[in-house]
Symmetry: C2
Subunit: 164 residues, 2 copies
């Protein structure tokens, strides 16, 4: 099964697709959706939705994994991230891709082994787990998205989360 991980933002939205076959995790695809700062905000929000639909149609993931957000630097950034994350949730549900949400702690623990890992540590582990060392530099947005996808793949084995 392919899982789509998403790290939403109003300027950059990371995405990453991870397939599991037995206990093997394989990198399927990933990158950054970059939306021009010159666009009006509402068009950038729609851009997150439209780009994710294109990605879902290309890779056909069964499920989407996204970080649950409770905190933000301030109200202004919470509003912005809320819009982009809303667009991502709408895109998945529109395509009948079920959404699963994990706390930042759960995502970091499932990739690095402890919840206070830095972005750099998450990225290094992502490269090791998915054997991406020969594929050039990963952005933090893409590696955070891949981490969300791996987190969901790992939870699937422990917990019958499809019945929760």
């Amino acid at each position: 099964m392919i899982v789509l991980g998403v790290d939403p933002g109003s300027i950059v939205t990371g995405y990453g697709l991870v397939e599991k076959d037995g206990s093997n995790l394989t990198y399927v695809g990933g990158g950054d959706i970059l939306l021009p700062r010159s666009w009006p905000f509402y068009l950038r929000v729609h851009g997150v939705f439209k780009s994710l639909i294109d990605i879902i149609q290309k890779y056909n993931p069964a499920e989407m994994s996204v970080e649950d957000i409770f905190f933000s630097k301030n109200v202004k950034s919470a509003l912005k991230i809320g819009h982009a994350r809303g667009a991502a949730l709408v895109a998945a549900t529109y395509c009948n891709v079920k959404v699963f949400e994990y706390s930042p702690l759960q995502i970091k623990q499932s990739v690095v082994g402890y919840g206070r890992a830095t972005k750099e540590q998450v990225r290094e582990m992502i490269k090791l787990i998915l054997k991406l060392n020969d594929k050039g530099k990963l952005s933090f947005d893409t590696s955070d998205a891949l981490a969300a996808a791996i987190c969901h793949q790992n939870w699937l084995k422990f917990d019958n989360i499809h019945n929760r």
Copy 2:
């Protein structure tokens, strides 16, 4: 031209449609999109998108007007309103309905005449302007949505905003 006003929220989203013919403003439709609190949050966000698409297909508005948000009680409520507002912006753009945003001050000024009006004052003016006194009680969500629609209709006469 029919304008759709929207007041987004993750539990209740108000909507209101106002047509202008010469200097006459006419009530076309309106109400509240109510999403069950029992639904997972991501399904409620999708519900805002899906319901607004149904409303746009029913009434065929040319443009959408929505309050611009810069402030919120706290980060948690900013995240929630951000998701719902993002779903509304995506729905309009998906249907080729152009989005216009106004500050709370602009909306209140265009309906009541001054920017510090209460929700009750806005509702009473909406009833007078749209001759809704015989149509039972308007919710604040619906009257705020109708106020956004009226604000856009009023700005259209002053300003060539389609070229901005």
